[in-house]
């Protein structure tokens, strides 16, 4: 099973990279761009019995290492 974990700063936590990218896009003429957030994606293969087991495992990985839940939220995709 292939897992994709998307990690972003939580809403309300200032994303200074997102702000800088937003200003750069405005500078290039895309004035309609708003609320840019820069995050990261972590992908990996995972041996797991079934989807529910995989979900539980990836969630545990996020809580323990992949995200710092003081400042970040995460979203998991399994395929």
């Amino acid at each position: 099973m292939r897992a994709k974990v998307h990690v972003f700063l939580k809403p309300g936590v200032l994303d200074v990279q997102g702000k800088a990218v937003e200003q750069a896009l405005h500078g290039l003429g895309w004035g309609g761009v708003e609320h840019v957030r820069v995050g990261k994606t972590i992908e990996f293969d995972l041996k797991a019995g079934d989807r529910a087991a995989a979900e539980a495992e990836v969630k545990a990985m996020c809580e323990k290492l992949l995200a710092n839940t003081v400042i970040e939220s995460y979203r998991v995709e399994l395929a």
Partner: protein, 220 residues
């Protein structure tokens, strides 16, 4: 008196810390590799130094927080041993949950490296007792992710309980409420972004950092 400095792959202030502690306190300082599983017997002070542990991969301090030695550091802190995290060491302590909050990218996205003036907000901790009459100290910061963040109730609690130990007089990185250093509720774990290890004798521009190491060991 015995101190230990933890060395992670990518630490770059570990030797600075050793020299700073030795010269300011006369204590013997052991260097402890991150892969070790024991601290020296009878250690009075554990220091997590600045640097770029594990190349800052994933998040600053995230990998170092999982190093084998850190379970022992946490256990020692729970026994009451004085523990100081400086810069990257502060990030590690937050990642481990030994201190509340987290360090974000600096507000203006720049790495900031310069001497800063600090207010000694609480001089009644075991790390700051030596500052008693003095309300200010000068130390150097050097960080790209030193922007302290915690949610509002946590910030209120830190302030209300006297856990804010140092504040910036001129905030260099956007830190919430100008916070430069905090202690845990018990008062034996300190994290700060400025480097006392770069300010321990007058030739470095300031000797104010020496007081921190002296206080920490005097309290042991």
């Amino acid at each position: 008196m015995k101190a230990a400095v933890i060395v992670f792959p990518g630490s770059n202030c570990d030797r600075d810390c050793k020299v700073a502690i030795e010269r300011s306190t006369g204590a013997s300082v052991g260097m402890v590799w991150h892969g070790d599983t024991a601290l020296p017997d009878g250690v009075d002070l554990v220091v997590l130094p600045g640097g770029f542990s594990y190349g800052d991969y994933l998040r600053c301090g995230a990998m170092a927080a999982l190093s084998p030695i850190m379970a022992e550091v946490k256990a020692a802190a729970e026994r009451g041993v004085a523990t100081v995290g400086i810069c990257n060491g502060f990030q590690v302590l937050c990642e481990m949950g030994m201190l509340p909050g987290a360090l974000l990218r600096n507000e203006r996205l720049k790495y900031v490296c310069k001497p800063v003036e600090l207010e000694v907000t609480n001089s009644q901790t075991r790390f700051t007792a030596g500052y008693k009459g003095r309300r200010q100290a000068v130390m150097t910061v050097g960080n790209g992710e030193g922007n302290f963040f915690a949610d509002e109730p946590t910030l209120d609690r830190l302030e209300g309980e006297g856990q804010v130990v140092f504040r910036y007089l001129d905030n260099p990185n956007g830190s919430a409420r100008d916070i430069a250093g905090i202690v845990n509720a018990r008062g034996n774990v300190l994290g700060l972004m400025p480097h006392p290890d770069r300010a321990f004798e007058a030739e470095l521009g300031s000797a104010d950092g020496a007081i921190l190491f002296q206080s920490a060991l005097a309290s042991a």
